[in-house]
Symmetry: D3
Subunit: 285 residues, 6 copies
Amino acid sequence: MSRSSSIPLWQLDDIVRRALDEDLGQAGDLTSEAVVPAEHRAEGSIVARAPGCLCGLEAAAAAFRAVDESVEFEALGRDGDEIAGGDRIARVHGPARSLLAAERTALNLLSHLCGIATSTRDLVRRIEGTGARVTCTRKTTPGLRALEKYAVRIGGGHNHRFSLGDAILIKDNHVAIAGGVGAAVERARAVAGHTVRVEVEVEDLSQLEEALAGGADIVLLDNMPVAMLAAAVTKCRGRAVTEASGGIDADTIAEVAATGVDLISVGWITHSAPALDLALDFEST
Amino acid sequence: MSRSSSIPLWQLDDIVRRALDEDLGQAGDLTSEAVVPAEHRAEGSIVARAPGCLCGLEAAAAAFRAVDESVEFEALGRDGDEIAGGDRIARVHGPARSLLAAERTALNLLSHLCGIATSTRDLVRRIEGTGARVTCTRKTTPGLRALEKYAVRIGGGHNHRFSLGDAILIKDNHVAIAGGVGAAVERARAVAGHTVRVEVEVEDLSQLEEALAGGADIVLLDNMPVAMLAAAVTKCRGRAVTEASGGIDADTIAEVAATGVDLISVGWITHSAPALDLALDFEST
Amino acid sequence: MSRSSSIPLWQLDDIVRRALDEDLGQAGDLTSEAVVPAEHRAEGSIVARAPGCLCGLEAAAAAFRAVDESVEFEALGRDGDEIAGGDRIARVHGPARSLLAAERTALNLLSHLCGIATSTRDLVRRIEGTGARVTCTRKTTPGLRALEKYAVRIGGGHNHRFSLGDAILIKDNHVAIAGGVGAAVERARAVAGHTVRVEVEVEDLSQLEEALAGGADIVLLDNMPVAMLAAAVTKCRGRAVTEASGGIDADTIAEVAATGVDLISVGWITHSAPALDLALDFEST
Amino acid sequence: MSRSSSIPLWQLDDIVRRALDEDLGQAGDLTSEAVVPAEHRAEGSIVARAPGCLCGLEAAAAAFRAVDESVEFEALGRDGDEIAGGDRIARVHGPARSLLAAERTALNLLSHLCGIATSTRDLVRRIEGTGARVTCTRKTTPGLRALEKYAVRIGGGHNHRFSLGDAILIKDNHVAIAGGVGAAVERARAVAGHTVRVEVEVEDLSQLEEALAGGADIVLLDNMPVAMLAAAVTKCRGRAVTEASGGIDADTIAEVAATGVDLISVGWITHSAPALDLALDFEST
Amino acid sequence: MSRSSSIPLWQLDDIVRRALDEDLGQAGDLTSEAVVPAEHRAEGSIVARAPGCLCGLEAAAAAFRAVDESVEFEALGRDGDEIAGGDRIARVHGPARSLLAAERTALNLLSHLCGIATSTRDLVRRIEGTGARVTCTRKTTPGLRALEKYAVRIGGGHNHRFSLGDAILIKDNHVAIAGGVGAAVERARAVAGHTVRVEVEVEDLSQLEEALAGGADIVLLDNMPVAMLAAAVTKCRGRAVTEASGGIDADTIAEVAATGVDLISVGWITHSAPALDLALDFEST
Amino acid sequence: MSRSSSIPLWQLDDIVRRALDEDLGQAGDLTSEAVVPAEHRAEGSIVARAPGCLCGLEAAAAAFRAVDESVEFEALGRDGDEIAGGDRIARVHGPARSLLAAERTALNLLSHLCGIATSTRDLVRRIEGTGARVTCTRKTTPGLRALEKYAVRIGGGHNHRFSLGDAILIKDNHVAIAGGVGAAVERARAVAGHTVRVEVEVEDLSQLEEALAGGADIVLLDNMPVAMLAAAVTKCRGRAVTEASGGIDADTIAEVAATGVDLISVGWITHSAPALDLALDFEST
């Protein structure tokens, strides 16, 4: 399987090992040692119990490989594939004890990432045809940010900042300290020179004016009613990129996109997307 | 704040540092450096935007402390407290740049753990008065198992196995390999001696008979219709502890508990509980 | 060589790398660089200088593999084999510098684990035919617990708790705090529910009565004279599993086992078992 | 307590944390949580159950400090003190749960190091008045070398090489590859220049002649009968430092030292010294 | 000393510990143990032996603190200060052994960072009054990138990309693969949307046309003769930010800046700047 | 490629991974993802842009291997080879994205190590025919000591102490504490016994007398004018090894060597040697 994600292999392996350490502890798998003969080999399939967007095959493969290099992991699809309930998404073959030791870690990663990709894709589809993009936020699960942002991309979304060092994004607390949107943008503009984008969060149209006057590249239109959002977008045309945020969900995203906003950022696709239900079924042999 | 969780401090610090590394990257917080004077001090409160069960104060405190030991973190409650939307749950005071650098990591941890505790408590309340206990599973977020299991306890739930090394739990794949529930339980019984509990998953009443005959301590009654579950529970009385599992949610947990089952295990409280909405609001000064 | 232990590969590799870092330092092997040509290949055998129970082949193999993946390590037996002085237990073949760089680390691990397995087996044999089991304790060498517990199993012993999180074991200091054996067991029973075993240490028959009354699953009969131990075992029959501990050695274990006790726990097999004498002999070529 | 060992603090902390991770697992201390109230404070003493040489106070203190910085650890002696059975060697005071969580790790480290220091001191005393020094070898417990070598120094012994990079020590396998003691020493001499000592292992007097002719600084007289050893020592006087090794124990060390040899290296003081029996006794309060 | 750099404390501590591990090894400081009494306290100053730009006080402080928390480190200036040969830049006070153990690590870090800041400042001064900025590259010393980029900022320079994930910079190898500058910029533009800057390296004016036509935000004018550079800058005015690179040094930077270019990137300030000569002088007491 | 350095593989991999983490961040290589098709394969050569001494092929290979095991790295020479500007020193072949992701890390390591080896070789050649050796110091780049000392050896130099635990070297600060060169050497001699070399720094001939009288094995003649150095060397003949240090560079090393001194230690070859200019050129395909 060729590597499709850009997550360095050792970062993936680190995540997998930490998860395996959690799951195997010091005593290893008591049940398999008691019940499964050491030499028993098995074959099984990872099966979807619900429809969704496939994501995380490499992470699952890494879990099996970390436990036992002799396990064969055959992907039956690619990240980004649409899957239906009942679909087999990968096959594994190897010592039964090794399969059982890696099973939970592989499924936990895979179902978490599929969950994010699935929720993202759902939103993306709801705004297809508009020019808007779905983006994620920094509201990610501690330790899994790079993987979760990858899942967002697989689902058709875009990534906003990976870290506080990626770009300047002035939020309400910064504005309060700087003494206003205009002052904050000016300070940022001076430091950033012409190579770093400056984004600023605004709550109403008067703050928006200040932001545009100060030379903001992107404005984050936070928690605005749709009508105000539309007015704001109109004002920004040709002057700044627009981003909507704040409690946007599957029910409301279409009307938000209809305002012509460029970006719609949604926190819950990384922090609250439900996991996709998956299982590893052994074949009778 | 005295430490109420039993998670060793360095394990918590490891999780916090990994999350901070994700969020600060190599370049640190560009925005604060540009907009917030180095000597500016600020004060703020972590505020709940929705009702729930408070959980993770220590983790939040650890995030601020890791960034800057001079930040004061004052908890305004204790893990396990019921909170309403609008409640302030902690106050922080210190250099504004430090508060801003730790903010997202602290909130991500806190809202994740509050989410789990809140979902758990909701289930627990729905079965109050029955003898049943809500337990979590090994379907946890990779890297966060110990914290998530702590959140389940705070929500009033109980922890099942932390790892594969804690106890013997024979599942369908093991049964298939061993050639039947009876054979599997016997093998396990022989290895386990009298100090390790043997649990086995059964799908119907005939498998249940085998399990009881083999001397299982606990039977996992998986995906049974309520009537069959009730029959199974009756059969087990005085002979084995009973555990129900499989797609149980807030709507169905009461009728499951009414069967008299001892344990009800629910995967989604750790893998899919929505995060609780929290924010850090700076005070105007 | 198939993996017989349940210690995850990366945990073994961690131990091996830490040991190799200690032994190679930053400067590497000055002697080999000075005396052994880089291209020189060698062949050698790991030879026992004393009889014992073989244990740790995987750890030894991991040491050679970590230094140089091109080294061939051929096990000439399996963990658990009885070996005599002079027996060859493994052969290695590869670049001489690599063999010499890994030699000490491989032998240190192997002789330590063989030592534990050998001492354990000796005790196990002395009580053969009784129903008693030899178990180890948490008195292990820091950093090596999982490997040492594995060596105990290979020697025919059983593992007690791996960590404080595995089970409840109420000891004298807990009893003092709780205000008596009965009170301590009751508190534990309430928390543990029906899925966690409760063990309690008792020093005399009156404490034993309290323990049984409180519903202890296992009683640890600490430092009892043999006659008292026998009486205690009789009292417990059908009510609780019994475990003897306290200064039991090769001379006394048989009479302890003769009381009918279920478990005999011995600290020194992990903290003071003498290492087995082993060497790596190069063949003349 | 001032730091007497030269082991960097973070290396000690690493060892302590790894040991605590082994002992606390993910679930923490189930027993204390069940039986000991969170707010209960306790006071206790670490007491020797047998006489010996005290060693490892800092390591014990580090274990308590790592679990809970609020624990007070008061050393009642210094590393190197002679202690009798029954002596109290340290007092601890703090939250009872914290004391119980650190207890086993602290005692495991302390009893291991005291054991090595005690065995070393015994040997050192048996050769007092001769000019010989007891030295340890690289036969140490994986992961604990620096601490074990410290314990040897505390017991009055001396450290030989810490790692393969410290000095040149040509052993039998090197000699075989180089084609003789003389050839090996010459090669080493050429590389080493005048700043690195060259030591070579010899098995008889003719090899010794070669070693001296080649310019060895130190000769390791391995497994020689006492008479041959004495002859070798005489030959080396004024020409090379002498080191005896091979199966030397408490019974034979005095006659070895009587030959006038400079160094006596003993592997078992680090790999097989029995641990000193210690306990933590809580005071009734 | 307040923290002026934005390098997270634990990242700094990691670098310091790794360096201390290199310098102290397992045996610690043999010389100090032999020559300096354990209780001896000393006082000393870090003194510049040459003029330059001060940088790295926090890193130096971290080295002393890591060895011994009781060492007092008093900065006598701030990062960014101009220093003359002979200037004292910090004072340390504490146990002599601790000062000596940390000395080399502290000086190695400080002299490396001062070296970079000094070389950077020299370049910055040579172009003062022009609008050009000196920027560094990704040609940094492995393991020290964040610290080195901080030193560049202290010297008055600016940071370009911290990592490959910060921005799009299309270089010659990418152009070759994409089949031309225009095609490469177009592909990048499509992916990047309006939130990520696209920079492209061009070697002549015709490539520059393609870049501008494609909508590049920044053009990297690589290795151009000054006349061509000037022409390129003129072409870009109002259309793209310009960056010059390629073998620019102290002798040539002024004429490069005179072309009106916006950014001048210089690799050698991070990979080849000579260290500043510093020493720790103990006071006679 | 066989491994010529004695740096353990995992230490090299650690350095490489840390550097790759710096360079890839969490987002990976944005440019390649945007511009280079995932399936595109490329071939390229690492080319020297200036003459020098080749060093670090293994480190470069490790960088490509860490990113993608399928990349083929073919060394076109060996560490220690003389290379001319324009020479190709290695070829790489594999997925273009993988080559581009590893490129900077591989080149940064290689050019740093080539730089040290080149500067060292230059010095070594200037004193060819004298008996003097060029040695490095502990003034190394934090985190890279073992690699840098390897580069010194490749350049024909010799390594002095790797760490403070390798040998005793009494410097001015120690002398001040001990109350004179003689007293310091005596204390060291007493502790060191006959197995550790004692070196002492002296600044004039009277200190030299003290050093020799005290039995120093090596004297470090620091910052002496050449005439004094020559006199000192004469005095030491047959009594101690001599080492010159202090501001010695390419211009002065020959006259220093002409004094007959044994060792010449030079700090700047590890802390300030300019990197060798190298590039990765893709082939047109």
